[in-house]
């Protein structure tokens, strides 16, 4: 009969009207400024640079200015200038560091490719999404001081990922120390016994980072 | 000179009639001619009401009834007249009276 479909429709909207008062599956609205959204761990927004030490952020940047991210960045929003000198990195090896590291977040499309290609776990995705600025050029162009955030912050926003990275880095560091120790020992042995065979490569090389795979699957 | 209300009403209606007449005669646009005729009809209606109000009324409803019938006829006239205008426009692509000068479609 004419009208039955319309009445059915009215019934459905009435059901939704009532449901919006008691059924959380129907009323999904979050009152944003008061209720903060619970961001999933995997959530990504713009990149930041990881520093080891919060007190000396510029001195302990993990970034070694290898410029891979700059090259791989699809919208090319990263700009890096290498330093002239070298500083010891986390493993104690002298490394270059970025004299200038800038990301234009007005261009960045949050694709995470810089994070995936970084061999030093130096760049990670941030979760701060309230990034409004009053100036579209300077306000959104972040320099290395603004980008640097301590490792503890990384732990805070991506705990699983950070834990994995730290474990791996610790293993690398230990391996490097052992290697150095072994090298020193070998040197000493070589000094002790002049005609000696070259030191065998006892230390395991640093575990190659699986390039294609992200550090860890985040937990939902 | 003092005018009685009835005279004033009649002057009003005759003036309105003449406005309609001049419009109907002077304008060559069919719609405006029709509207002029409508005005003349309305002027006549004013007379009915004026006489109903001030004249010696044999029946208290006659004037009003006349006007009601006149309005109904006027509505029909407007509908048919404007339909004719549209029909003429379809054939001639014009609503100027001068262009509708033949009886053939």
């Amino acid at each position: 009969m004419l009208g039955s479909g319309i009445i059915k429709g009215l019934a459905v909207t009435a059901k939704n009207f009532v449901g919006s008062y008691h059924d959380p599956a129907r009323m999904v609205t979050e009152q944003y400024p008061e209720e903060r959204p619970k961001l999933p761990e995997a959530y990504r927004n713009f990149p930041f640079l990881v520093t080891e030490n919060a007190t000396d952020p510029m001195g302990t940047l993990r970034c070694v200015a290898c410029q891979i991210c700059e090259k791989e960045c699809p919208p090319q929003c990263i700009y890096i200038e290498k330093s002239k000198d070298k500083k010891p990195d986390a493993t104690g090896k002298p490394q270059l560091y970025p004299a200038v590291f800038a990301i234009d977040t007005s261009v960045c499309m949050s694709c995470q490719i810089c994070v995936e290609v970084c061999p030093f776990d130096a760049i990670k995705m941030d979760q701060v999404f309230e990034v409004a600025a009053t100036n579209r050029f300077t306000g959104l162009l972040l320099n290395r001081e603004q980008l640097a955030k301590p490792n503890s912050y990384f732990h805070q926003i991506h705990p699983t990922d950070a834990h994995e990275v730290d474990t791996r880095l610790a293993a690398e560091r230990k391996a490097a120390e052992e290697k150095a120790k072994a090298a020193a020992a070998a040197k000493a042995a070589a000094a002790a016994a002049k005609p000696a065979t070259p030191a065998p490569a006892t230390a395991t090389p640093a575990a190659p980072k699986p390039a294609a795979q992200p550090p860890t699957p985040p937990t939902a | 000179m003092s005018l009685s209300p009835l005279q004033l009403c009649l002057l009003f209606s005759s003036a309105l009639f003449c406005v309609g007449l001049i419009g109907a005669l002077a304008r060559s646009n069919t719609i405006l001619v029709l509207l002029g005729v409508e005005l003349m009809l309305n002027a006549a209606n004013i007379n009915f009401i004026a006489f109903w109000r001030y004249g010696p009324a044999p029946s208290p409803a006659t004037g009003v009834l006349f006007v009601i019938f006149a309005i109904a006829v006027a509505a029909a006239e407007a509908a048919v007249g404007l339909a004719l205008v549209i029909a003429v426009y379809r054939h001639r692509r014009s609503i100027q009276l001068q262009d509708a000068n033949s009886l053939k479609g």
Partner: protein, 427 residues
């Protein structure tokens, strides 16, 4: 001349019946005491001024809260919250802390401030005078209709013999203003909207009138107050004798609802301002307060038509049960009015828009014939008023059949060839 010219205004000043309760008479008592303070020759004017100011104030506020209610109700229908932010600003100099958000109820005032402070843009090519006149006239015409609605037992601004005719005469002018707005804007969307508005009003004026005529036929009067009085009976003091509780009345009410939706340009008949097709139709070139005026007029028109529906079919200010008469009649009227508005909002939240040819077809091929049949039905009802006992059952059955059978048959022919389909699958 003055006295005769205003005779229809001053002749029927409602007089409070002594039998009414204090609350029932309260608005009139207030007015009368106020008027007493002024010299006698100006009293009739004050009487009407107070009525006018009362209508403007009450229905102005009613409009304001209808907008926020509509948005909140639509929100809930759509599983949203609706506006809930606008509240009272926090003044630090106040000794007490006002609660910040009054459930968003101050939203209309914020909207009004916004509308007033917005730039008023008039297109360069527009017909400036008509562009300006349209919003002014549309509000004026839509307010005129309130004059004959009986808001309470003693509350009717103007009691006219031909009140219903007046209502439709005043209401018919609003579409003219929509045309003016659409045409004067010199915008193609507005022009299309103006054409649609004209087609719509020509098509729906008729079913609206025809759906009302059965009530006039049965009540035997064009006066709205008398129509309400005619519905003021109860069976066993419980079942009200409203016209909606008769077969012809129910059918007439449904027809009236559909036609009223079309007349007030509400979904599913909001073709003149069809958002998805014509941007905003005749409102495309309006901004700021002129836009707000159109908005206001639309709601005034809706409220007035709802009020008419309440008056004609839902017993007006009559209480639903005899023992509930202690509640003042104007509260009953407002309650029913709110119910009607909520229903309109509900419909808007559910239905989709008709196409212009379907709109006119629905009117001419369905509503008009049904309304005519319903007129005959009402005539049958009026003729068989003396039947009683088992004949009463026959009367009900015949009357119901007279309207249901044509409805089903014509509904079937209207939707011929249109049905949900079943589909085949390829694997």
């Amino acid at each position: 001349m003055n006295s005769s010219g205003l005779s229809l205004l001053s002749a029927h000043l409602p007089v409070a019946a002594a039998a009414d309760g204090l609350l029932e008479r309260l608005p009139l008592t207030l007015r009368d005491t106020f008027v007493q303070w002024f010299p006698a020759p100006t009293q009739w004017l004050l009487h009407h001024l107070i009525s006018i100011v009362g209508i403007l104030a009450i229905f102005g506020l009613f409009f304001a809260f209808t907008t926020v209610a509509e948005r909140k109700l639509l929100g809930r229908l759509q599983n949203r919250l609706g506006p809930n932010r606008a509240g009272v600003p926090k003044f630090s100099f106040l000794p007490f802390h006002l609660k910040h958000k009054l459930f968003g109820l101050t939203q209309p005032f914020a909207d009004a401030v916004k509308a007033l402070t917005k730039e008023d843009i008039v297109p360069a090519a527009a017909d400036k005078l008509l562009h300006f006149l349209a919003p002014v006239l549309v509000v004026a015409f839509s307010l005129l209709t309130f004059a004959v609605l009986p808001f309470g037992r003693n509350l009717i601004p103007v009691e006219l013999d031909a009140a219903l005719l007046y209502f439709f005469a005043a209401g018919s002018a609003t579409e003219l203003t929509i045309f003016m707005a659409g045409w004067a804007s010199r915008n193609k969307y507005s022009l299309l909207s103006a054409m649609r508005a004209l087609a719509q009003v020509i098509s729906y004026e008729l079913p609206l009138l025809l759906s009302v005529i059965p009530v006039v036929l049965v009540a035997g009067t064009l006066s709205t107050q008398e129509i309400v009085v005619a519905q003021g009976f109860w069976t066993f003091g419980l079942l009200p004798h409203w016209f909606i509780f008769t077969p012809w009345g129910a059918a007439g009410f449904l027809l009236f609802l559909v036609a009223a939706l079309a007349e007030s340009n509400r979904s599913p008949f909001d073709l003149p301002e069809a958002e998805s097709e014509l941007i905003a139709g005749h409102l495309t070139e309006y901004s700021g307060f002129k836009y707000a005026l159109f908005f206001m007029a639309e709601y005034f028109g809706l409220t007035a038509l709802s009020g008419l529906g309440v008056t004609l079919f839902l017993g007006g200010w009559q209480a639903p049960c005899a023992f509930l008469q202690f509640i003042p009649s104007y509260l009953w009227f407002m309650g029913k009015l709110v119910g009607m508005i909520v229903f309109f909002i509900w419909v808007r939240g559910t239905l989709l828009r008709l196409r212009i040819d379907q709109l006119t077809r629905l009117s001419w091929q369905f509503l008009v014939p049904l309304a005519l049949i319903n007129l005959g039905n009402a005539a049958f009802w009026a003729l068989t008023g003396a039947w009683s006992g088992p004949l009463q059952i026959v009367r009900w059955a015949v009357s119901a059949a007279l309207i249901v059978v044509p409805f089903v048959l014509m509904g079937r022919s209207l939707t011929r060839g249109q049905a949900p389909r079943t589909y085949r699958y390829a694997t």
